[in-house]
Amino acid sequence: MLNSSQRRAGRSLLIQRNALETNDIIANKNKALFGKAFVMNFLSSPGSGKTSLLESIIPILKSDGFKVAVIEGDVETDLDKKRIDKLNVPAYQIITNGTCHLDARMVSGSLNSLDINGADIIFIENVGNLVCPTSFNLGEDIKAVVLSVTEGDDKPLKYPAAFYKSKVMIINKIDLLPVLDSDIAKIRENALSINKDMVIFETSCKNNSKAGNTYNNGLQDFISFIKDNVSLKVSVFKK
């Protein structure tokens, strides 16, 4: 082991560079390949309901004429992709084999196989983990953090990076509120203390097959947000 004076004997190189520059170079290439598509990167703990949320909103977006594609990220299995396949939209499963997050290289690799030609919306479902995925830009337009009411209202304070970096928070499984002690107002307050500009939706993915139910379970507001951002992305892309 070198002592401090030996350490100081070397040359000093001033750098001032983004430490994740190599990831971000690839993320920017991904962004270019995404084209006009609005791309959301979903972060959350395992089991918050990311896939259920996609299963609930994709059929509605499809019926409204939007072309959707999905990139799934999991440590093991293609179970989530199989669920998305049932919606008849292009989907690709990234299996990280133990890695706790997606990075730009993995997403770049998925674009060799996934049909995103003409896509209006691309959803990236990151590995279920509120810590590691926050550090890596994938080329998305926004990060969206999903928090289920079963996780407790202190999660924004315990895992602040995910809430700081996300433009949107979806508080999911609100149908369970009657049997829980979770305080939605407290979740909102804690999240906004980390990120005061965060846009917040409250959703449930239960019983969505019932006509008109999307208006009662908060999904419609979230879908409207997505549609607005698709329009915004297209207008920016044309310029």
């Binding site: 040359r11 001033l14 560079r17 983004n18 430490a19 706790c100 550090s135 700081y164 970096k165 980390i194």
Partner: protein, 79 residues
Amino acid sequence: MHEFSIALEIVDTLQLNGYLEGVKSVSEVKLNLGKYSGVDKNYLAFAFQNLNDERFKDVLLDFILNDGDEITIREILVD
């Protein structure tokens, strides 16, 4: 433990920009680390110690902690 990936990204960034050309060893890496970066500085130091790269075998990490989410390489000391 995404800090291993961050450590590899730092090495890649240094390599990509030519800072490691002719370098036998890196004795210190100075970083700016935002409190919302999602990076644990102790795990990052552990990751560097366990990189399969002899040049970083004895590396010491030095951090300036700040607000925001940046992870910036500020300076390196090399031999």
